[in-house]
Symmetry: C2
């Protein structure tokens, strides 16, 4: 069948038919891309992609990323045609319906074979960079016999125009990720019209400027596609293949225009397309011979996979490799346990960013799959440890990535690494610049990935850098994202606890919000109390009238406040709440015990108060509902009312 | 003095001395950039920049943007030396202290002469693109005699590595903004170390690929700098000048290394620098002759400004030009008034995105300074009107920008346009992709700029595109940003009201969160009730036991719910809350009247519930605390419990 257009053509048309029929049935969706890229995808899957539909989680499979996720019918068609268990034809019939695995955009948690969830433009390609990084890293550790695969991406003009594309390809070019190949659907159409409405860029030149190999092909000429893909696969640099395509190819009256991008073709045009393509089957039917050609591709991968399984069985590192790929932590963490004991004893007064570094020093020894990094704030985020030597084009075995000033690119790459498996990524930037990568953090959560964000300088406590750098709304804004754990630890011990909890969460991402300024040690016991999200750090001595709820750097302030209250005969509990999400998961009795109805509840956090009403009800919120200011931290805390005396005054008015 | 190094050298050293002394006194800050770029800045201000320190708001001044905002002492030095009223030398002495106008990063609201607030990397340059767009647009309308200036930017490696740089320069190149010139501090150092730690990019080639002119110079050779800047000024394309500099130039033992980037030099190195530079003055003292050279530059601009004032006085459009530059709306909005009357009458059932389009059709006729656009979602955001013809390289008079798939670039450009003045920018994307430009929205608020974000597809009501496109946490996350008005109107009339309110806010940005799906008309009166942020749309008929608080598409659902409750003899108010921020500014009596203590308060909003406790207290929150799903909208609303029956059931349990 190799390069036989008489067979590849109908195979590609099967994609076109399924795509236009599914979009029509759903009465929404994007036929343009799947129809335009059907020929390219057919060549990729038939000649280049290493995959086994019977084992979609095979670690050494090639990764295929549909970065232009709106063209989801392309991947649903491919998975079905090549013989994955799902989607079935019924799944495809239910495209975009409630509970269908064929969602509007491809979702990794719905379908094996969908390597990542795409739709937010630019991120698929940027995640693919992370996958390619993970591949080279594991290859350095486990060798060619276990890890030797490519990452293939289909991307559209949108993916390339987004800012994140610059960050992603800059990183990939710098790291010389030659096994990453991007097939650009170069159709010169965006939603608003021709690309020249908004861009005049020489994309090939831009990619070359960042160290990429660039080639092009006629995206509807099978031989030319195969030639270009072979060139891309062979080149030692990451490759961009500009596939000149006609959007909606096959819909004779609409192809090549922007109206075919994101709307059903309509019954008339579908009829015309059937005639144009010579496709006589009913909707959602694929002729047996064409399906058989597709299924033979799927079967082809089985032998490659069997050989790999045999190699794994004979590999001395098989157990460790499999443990890492399964995402299971080592059973023992001796260095970390020793570290915990040491700080419980030594009671260090340190910034939580520094405490995080100390925790990481131990954890990165115990957990070899941790790969760290920072978006050019290594010395500020305290993310580098002795065990994590630099990861670079000549040192893929390294475990520390100098991501450069690329927050969004870093976050997406971390998603890609986690999705690839075998690696637990963590990376740092300033908390305020979580804004720059916010949608990738959201995508960590949607995709259920263990990605750990080390976000330092977590309040006005950073001081002089001023309002552009002071995250007043960010902790709460991150709490707003579903399925994301937001930790704001209060001292070195809580920081270590939160690290341990983040790492244990195999299916959720975590944020660690950490201080620039030093914090007193508040506890010396070794029970991981942060695990319940909140706990009573200090019980009232006088009859309890007040419960102070605080996080991070404000927990010590809450303790000071409680002392002043107790001196006035007002009993006050202090509850440290390092993680709201875990607290919300506790049983009602535990929660009610911490938040008694008969006490005035007072929140203390150096950020916006919006949201705290959830716990304090009609109580009192102490916070900062405005942008900060540039000044030394101690002055700012005093100026904005974060002192025990100022808080006590407000409490006594309210009591 | 022209190009006399014997005078320019000491002038540049004045910047160096002030910068290192101020950072030392503050014991924090960034000496590396100001010292490295002192020579370039001296040439720019002495030979190229059009400015008059006595009239910092002169509309036809050149705009100078310090995109690398951490180097704030560069601009503070320049403003002081050239004779702006502020900063005084005392201001500089108080660098980074509470209430000082010399904040850690330059703040447009603190100092005239600071054109925009910078610090978040990449955004200064991207705002400069917007300034250059506004300049060409106003030039097209008012001619060379009133509008004929350049935009100059100083940017660092960080600004260039950020993703937004790709979007910004792509837009600038496409629009052929030849009056935009970027002076890149090419020092090959980032915070983490040498740039080659994280990038291998050929930056010049990348800029050329997007239609830019690129030249370079020795950033410490005055003649070479002047040659390059002249070349940049003359070229019809936007220009990048790669200024090869030594970071921290003048600090003999630290210059050229990354440790000089962001920390005080220390007393010893400052002493060494004084010797190296031959600078014998005490800290915060500038020798009279050097200061006099600087002040003469400042004085030079006065004559150019006087000539311009004379031209303005004789210009037939002077009144209109001045009105626009002052940011004052036209006194009458006849088309908009007529539109309001027509929908109060016709009661259209439309999506609020469509109602927004209709409001805009009228507003863009009435308010000629409105310049719209969309990040490639024109037909979805409904942002284009008949009055707003395309803005392009050949049509700078146009008022609609096809921003391309560049959300962050669009938002920053809008900030730049607003900062430039004479233009009121609005632009659209999907609400979920506010994530992509979130920090620029924050910067609209910090900078107190009237920028209007049209964010459509505002809930699961968008249906089939699924969780990656469904903004469940975004409305609340935007409410979290201080000084930002978040509007979520409930019908066509509220949408028009919210538009009117957004436009009236001369010093605050606004978000309009708008539906994809059609909504019933709920009101017919013409009082702008949205102006109070919330109002009672329906009063209880039976004795009031419940108050339903809702926004946007859920207001109609709240009314349906109230009907069911009333039928059961349970009186229920319905309060529409299109804008929390405006409601919070109402007097306590008004707020208490809407939120009576003796009723069960119930919020209804198709997004996260976190935050609503602020208004409902111990009441009930109806919302969606998880990611959405891909399905037709009506099914999703039902599936997630957004039906009158489901809500009534929860209410009656609670009553």
């Amino acid at each position: 069948m190799t390069l036989d257009p008489s067979r590849l053509g109908p195979m590609a048309n099967a994609i076109r038919a399924l795509s236009m029929d599914a979009v029509q049935a759903a009465n929404s969706g994007h036929p343009g891309m799947p129809m335009g890229m059907a020929d390219v995808a057919t060549v990729l899957f038939s000649q280049f992609l290493k995959f086994d539909p019977a084992a979609p989680h095979w670690p050494d499979r090639d990764r295929f990323v549909l970065s232009a996720g709106h063209g989801s019918m392309l991947i649903y068609s491919l998975l079905h045609l090549t013989g994955y268990a799902r989607p079935s034809m019924d799944d495809i019939r239910n495209f975009r319906q409630l509970h269908s695995v064929c969602a509007g955009h491809p979702e990794n948690f719905e379908l094996a074979g969908v390597e990542c969830t795409t739709g937010p433009l630019g991120q698929g390609l940027a995640m693919a960079v992370g996958m390619a990084m993970a591949e080279r890293h594991l290859n350095a550790g486990f060798g060619d016999s276990l890890v030797d695969h490519n990452t293939w991406v289909v991307a559209g003009d949108g993916c390339l125009m987004e800012g994140i594309n610059h960050e992603a390809i800059g990183l990939a070019g710098h790291l010389k990720l030659g096994r990453l190949n991007v097939l650009w659907d170069d159709n010169r159409i965006t939603i608003d019209g021709d690309t020249d409405l908004s861009t005049s860029e020489d994309i090939a030149a831009r990619y070359r400027a960042t160290g990429w190999h660039v080639t092009e092909c006629d995206g509807h000429d099978f031989a030319d596609i195969a030639r270009a893909l072979a060139e891309a696969a062979a080149d030692p640099r990451p490759s961009l293949v500009a596939c000149r395509t006609i959007i909606g190819k096959g819909a004779p009256n609409k192809q090549g225009g922007h109206n075919v991008h994101g709307a059903p073709l309509g019954a008339d045009e579908i009829a015309a397309a059937r005639e144009y393509l010579g496709w006589t089957s009913a909707p959602f039917e694929v002729p047996t011979d064409i399906l058989s050609d597709w299924r033979s591709l799927g079967a082809k991968g089985a032998s490659a996979r069997a050989e790999w399984e045999a190699r794994l069985a004979g590999n001395a590192n098989a157990r460790e490799f499999s443990r890492r790929m399964a995402g299971v932590l080592p059973q023992q963490l001796p260095a970390f346990d020793a570290y915990l004991a040491s700080i419980a004893e030594s009671q260090p007064k340190v910034a939580t960013r520094k405490a995080s570094e100390s925790a990481l020093e131990a954890l990165t020894v115990d957990i070899q799959e941790m790969v760290g990094g920072s978006a050019d704030l290594t010395g500020s985020n305290n993310t580098k440890t002795k065990a994590t030597t630099p990861f670079g084009a000549d040192t893929y075995g390294g475990r520390y990535v100098y991501y450069g000033i690329r927050e969004f690119g870093m976050a997406a790459a971390m998603n890609g690494m986690a999705l690839h498996g075998g690696v637990i990524p963590y990376g740092g930037t300033f908390l305020v610049f979580s804004d720059y990568c916010r949608n990738a953090i959201r995508m960590s959560a949607i995709q259920k990935q263990r990605v750990i964000y080390v976000l330092t300088h977590d309040s006005i406590g950073l001081g002089e850098d001023g309002p552009t750098h002071q995250p007043v709304e960010h902790v709460m804004s991150l709490r707003a994202i579903p399925d994301l754990l937001v930790f704001r630890p209060a001292d070195a011990l809580e920081t270590a606890e939160c690290w341990a909890l983040s790492l244990k969460e195999a299916k959720r991402p975590s944020v660690l919000a950490l201080t620039r300024q030093n914090l007193l040690a508040l506890r010396s016991d070794l029970e991981n109390k942060s695990a319940r999200g909140a706990y009573r750090l200090k019980a009232a001595e006088a009859p309890r009238k007040v419960v102070l709820l605080a996080t991070g750097s404000e927990v010590a302030l809450a303790i000071d406040t409680a002392k002043v209250l107790e001196a006035q005969g007002i009993g006050a509990d202090v509850v440290s709440m390092p993680c709201w999400e875990l607290f919300d998961e506790q049983d009602p009795a535990y929660r009610a015990d911490l938040l008694p109805a008969d006490a005035l509840k007072v929140s203390v956090e150096a950020g916006i108060t919006l949201g705290w009403q959830k716990y304090v009800g009609d109580g009192l919120t102490i916070g900062l509902d405005r942008f900060g200011a540039s000044a030394p931290a101690e002055q700012l805390f005093e100026y904005f009312g974060f002192t025990a005396d100022a808080i006590v005054k407000k409490i006594t008015v309210k009591l």
